[in-house]
Symmetry: C2
Subunit: 310 residues, 2 copies
């Protein structure tokens, strides 16, 4: 394996990576997908998706399974593992996994997605998995009729609160701004629910517990800086995403938040390396927009490779 | 109807328009879709689609029907008709149909798609529908064991030739350039078929017939300008697309081919008017990329409208 050169190596297996694979495979580029830490990407951690065009309601994991099977059926090779190093100083590029294996590829599509941000406050690490979670869908079931805090005001916070609502009516949302930033539809669903309390202009400054599990959080008023403690059994942190780009070498230009800079839709600052999905998109972050950009990256990689062959 | 103002009016009902509708409807913007001359867009004229992520093989019309039902189920209103005029000098914008009805909208998403280009050579109009066609899928069945010419060298030409192959083994492709421009996978399928003849560096300069139907075409060598006649029963013109933007007012900037110029992904030169899909994309033109850009246009329109409300 080490000696063969992969035409197109795709890092990541969410909607962007798998759509890139489907298009690259259908262009006879025999792509290889390195699945990453979370095969299937963020939709694996969701329940029903209602905005994938043509599917009124489909389970996120089911949609990703269909895409994976599609990619496989047209000739994609899948490698389980996580990339720890991309070497752009040699051509073909070298990509090394945590297993130590190195692959060589003529073109790379970066589609590692993004992952939930942390608060970085006292107690967060200590109670991680003991009341602190970033995934309501994964952990909601442990909070039946219990008190929960949802931190954040965007789409993922609303989604988390909606999801938790089927387990408990003791939900408090703590949001740093004066108003929610989620899309209209999601805000409305939350705001019209009288059992959900929203505390605006506050941050969670500490997570407290009894050494075994979370018992409360300290919230701080953004204006007065006054703090108060709220009792809770769980804290769901849904304050946005961080693109998984830390391991990339410096020549791959990123903005201050770590998002890859692209030009001409999918081209990174390194020729032959393309980016698709949430690693380069802080604005739309939908499954359908990621899939669209995965397709673009594959078509751009095809053009790049066919120009190389001339 | 004339007196109510539509929050988001979407012109066109292909993957871009319908995905925009799904997203706008889920944002409680009660969108209205003007379906256009060809409801469902270009996929309606295809058979199997094999590159819609998650669907290994689905009929184009079935995929579009599913998207339409999805858009309808979340609250999209559909109006049959064709837009003949967009007035951007008044706000809300005014959009007039060929039926004479005028609608007013706060935001518009342009998603009219593109349609096949014509050769504009002698005989083309005369024999239109009498041997001259732009849709192999629609008309292929009439050419069982007959001689056909496919004009073009891109994806749609390869697709047309592949499709016609199930009816006849007397196919000649006439292409203006020295090599095909279709994607690798499609080229290979054609080039490895010994029954398909490809004539490079020639154009079709005239279409001839017996007054009732096509009997041949005249092709001209691009270098020597020498002409020759080829006998044929049909000529399928698959030389690319023209965006359906002719009816738009001058302030909506377009390039020399008529494609809408966009900045920040979906914004046209007129604030409050967005573009998605093939009207602004000459490069990728896939169902999945159009759907992705439809989603972006709806989210951008939502942001525009929520800023207006402040």
């Amino acid at each position: 394996m080490k000696d063969s050169i992969i035409p197109v190596l795709i890092i990541g297996s969410g909607p962007a990576g798998l759509t890139a694979a489907i298009y690259a495979a259908r262009s006879a580029l025999t792509p290889t997908v390195i699945e990453g830490k979370k095969p299937g990407g963020q939709l694996i951690g969701t329940t029903y998706v209602e905005n994938w065009p043509g599917q009124k309601r489909i389970l996120g994991p089911a949609l990703m399974q269909e895409m994976r099977e599609h990619a496989e059926s047209v000739g994609t090779e899948f490698i389980a593992g996580n990339v720890t190093k991309v070497d752009d100083t040699q051509k073909p590029f070298a990509v090394t996994l945590d297993t130590g294996t190195t692959f060589h590829a003529h073109a790379i599509i970066l589609a590692m997605g993004a992952e939930p941000k942390r608060l970085n406050c006292p107690g967060e690490d200590k109670y991680w998995g003991k009341g602190v979670s970033t995934c309501a869908v994964c952990d909601g079931t442990f909070y039946k009729d219990k008190k929960v805090i949802v931190v954040g005001g965007g789409d993922s916070a609303m989604e988390a609160a909606s999801f938790l609502r089927s387990y408990t009516d003791k939900i408090t949302i703590v949001h740093i701004l004066e108003k929610l930033t989620a899309c209209q539809a999601m805000q409305e669903r939350i705001l019209k629910d009288p059992t959900i309390k929203v505390i605006y202009a506050h941050t969670v400054s500490a997570i407290e517990g009894n050494n075994e599990k979370v018992t409360g959080v300290v919230i701080t008023d953004q204006k007065t800086k006054a703090s108060q403690k709220i009792e809770t059994d769980g804290a769901f942190i849904t304050i946005g995403l961080k693109p998984n780009t830390d391991f990339l070498p410096a020549p791959l230009e990123r903005d201050q938040w770590g998002y890859l800079k692209v030009h001409d839709q999918t081209k990174t600052s390194v020729e032959g390396i393309f980016a698709a999905g949430d690693v380069q998109d802080f604005r739309y972050r939908q499954a359908i927009t990621s899939a669209g950009s995965g397709c673009m990256a594959a078509l751009d990689a095809e053009r790049y490779l066919s120009a190389l062959r001339k």
